[in-house]
């Protein structure tokens, strides 16, 4: 990414610059921030941007992972490697542990999506985090399109879409009372395609699951799921080998793969430029429940 001589930035440089500004603003103004890290491509980009924002110093806040216990092993592997390389503290909030303690119970379909929220909120309380960085983008979903970069949450972590703080210029308001918090979305203005262009430009390591490979899959509700311990085929679901890749890294039991030949980043970019389905619509069983599924979860304190 070299600078053009006429003092213009490419769209990726503009987005990067805006994100760095957001990271530094939070570190300067919020008392105890943490970066939510899931191991997916967005959080990999986030961690990279956080590193750049404070380089050559270390990232001045820990990373927090709400581990559902149903992550793809590769994702956990990348999480641990990156935390180690960047010498940043990793805090894991475990959903299975919370289930054992009786704090939460999974939904009948096995989804642990909703029960991540109480586990997240318990971790926020325990570590007294006042600001949490999330990798959500406004192009992902309709309610996210209306959320601020600095999203105010009450003491229950709830989002009130009708009562958001106006956000002007690059002046962010991170002020809170005791118990309240701010969710911060440095990638708000990035699209899925921007994220991939950036991963390519910066040569970032992402889980191999994003690339098309021959995998054992079966069909359920019109979507292709990888057959594994966390997601075994039920009676009557026939396992086949297909060339597939993942567009998102959700829980292994609910994240579907898509048929694809995109086995390199360049081919993924080509594919996304032509695709006719959103990443969540194509691959996330958990977002299909209702038109307002994401909005409802956010109101409860979800990202």
């Amino acid at each position: 990414m070299t600078d053009p001589p006429d003092y213009r930035l490419s769209h990726l440089q503009s987005l990067e610059s805006e994100s760095l500004h957001v990271f530094r603003e939070v570190a300067a103004e919020c008392e105890r921030p943490a970066l939510m890290f899931s191991g997916g491509k967005d959080s990999i980009v986030m961690l990279h941007l956080a590193h750049k924002a404070f380089s050559p110093a270390r990232i001045p806040f820990p990373i927090l992972h709400v581990d559902t216990g149903l992550n793809f092993p590769q994702v956990i592997d990348i999480r641990d490697r990156r935390a180690d390389e960047l010498a940043v503290r990793l805090i894991v909030a475990s959903v299975p542990e919370a289930m054992e303690r009786g704090l939460v119970t999974p939904e009948p379909n096995g989804s642990r999506n909703r029960i991540q929220t109480p586990v997240l909120l318990a971790a926020v309380q325990e570590h007294r985090f006042t600001a949490l960085f999330g990798g959500a983008r406004r192009d992902e979903e309709k309610s996210r399109a209306k959320e601020r970069v600095f999203s105010f949450r009450d003491e229950f972590g709830q989002w009130d879409p009708k009562n958001q703080r106006p956000e002007l210029w690059n002046l962010y308001n991170g002020r809170i009372h005791l118990g309240e918090s701010i969710r911060v979305f440095p990638l708000s203005n990035w699209t899925e395609l921007d994220v991939w262009h950036y991963i390519a430009a910066e040569e970032l390591l992402v889980p191999d699951l994003y690339f098309a490979r021959d995998r054992e899959v079966f069909e359920r509700d019109g979507m292709l799921y990888a057959a594994n311990d966390m997601c075994p085929p039920r009676d009557g679901e026939r396992t086949i080998t297909a060339t597939v890749r993942y567009r998102t890294m959700g829980d292994a039991n609910l994240t579907a793969a898509v048929r694809s030949d995109a086995d390199t980043i360049e081919r993924i970019i080509e594919e996304i430029a032509l695709t006719r389905l959103t990443e969540r619509g194509a691959t996330r069983g958990d977002d299909r429940v209702s038109e307002a599924a994401m909005e409802d979860r956010k109101r409860e304190g979800y990202f």
Binding site: R138, P161, L171
Partner: protein, 416 residues
Amino acid sequence: MDLLRFATAGSVDDGKSTLIGRLLYDTKAIFDDQLEAVERTSRLMGDDYTNLALLTDGLRAEREQGITIDVAYRYFATPRRKFIIADTPGHVQYTRNMVTGASTADLAIILVDARKGMLEQSRRHAFLVTLLRVPHIVVAVNKMDLVDYAQDRYEAIRNEFTAFATKLEIADLTVIPISALRGDNIVSRSGVMPWYEGPSLLHHLEHVHVASDRNLIDARFPVQYVLRPQLAEYPDYRGYAGTVSGGVLKVGDDVVVLPSGFETRIVAIDSASGPIEEVFPPMSVTLRLADDLDVSRGDMICRPHNAAVPSQDIDAMVCWMSDTPLVLGKQLALKHTTRTARALVKDLQYRLDVNTLHRDEDADSLRLNEVGRVQLRTTSPLFVDPYRRSRTTGGFILIDEASNNTVGAGMVVGAE
């Protein structure tokens, strides 16, 4: 490929949602599953057509009430440019939302219904986007299909708007006749209006020249964060991180640090991609200086012969965004660049009627969505520029210290 941010302003039935739906659809930024969801909802609501407006109604309350509550951000790209749309609703909380959406916009599209012509709200939209100094304005004369694509309708509206615009300071005005519903003059020039010789809307958005809108003269670098790694590899590193607000800064430049007034020199600039020789707005970088000075967040690095003037008396246009009115003697927190001070409302010179531009000099308060000229006294000096010279060092927000809410937006007229 560069980036263009634009805001759209229109009233309830101007066809704004249809226009945005059309732009997204024609540039393939709408996905099949989104379209299916919209088709499904349209049927449930009893519409006999696919209501593209539903694409932009994100929240449950909005769908239930058929209104838009908040600014929504949309994204699309063409091979030439990436676009960010700030879609601002025209009715509920209009001023607050429009001001928010316009604050970062390079361009604003104001929709006018060809049948109705310029309405009071069109004037209001034009005033607000010029108040926020959006450099480029497009008036989209929509629903041309409903006036038989009549040239005289378009020209009447264009002339009326141009006449009104002379009261405002509009740098660049373009008036385009369109039909969002039928796609005329949206992506390409339409054959049904051969008398119109200008560009299509998308062509204009792709080609409008925005690089020169930035201030590349007045070097302004608000210090955002001080980097002192204190690691074995970097024992003495001390860098000042921030976003360039104005001007061009180069390695070797003499600079002055406000408020101390100490002069020093830039010895190195670190960017996201490594060391770099010169930087410009809006790059986020880290400056290293020749001397070990006491520089902290909220300080500002400028050129010795062109520095911002520190001031505690701020004269500004304020847009009020809270249910609790702004009154004389009110104390607020004021955030300007990376500096926060406390501000006292000393005087309200006048309240401006955003529809007629009439100045009410007897006003003693600003209520929700009202705009007025306000004098503020701050507890510590701010390094401001007039907003007309710089949108980043001329803009500030006001925060209620009890609720912590952002309650006002200010644009500096002058400072003493």
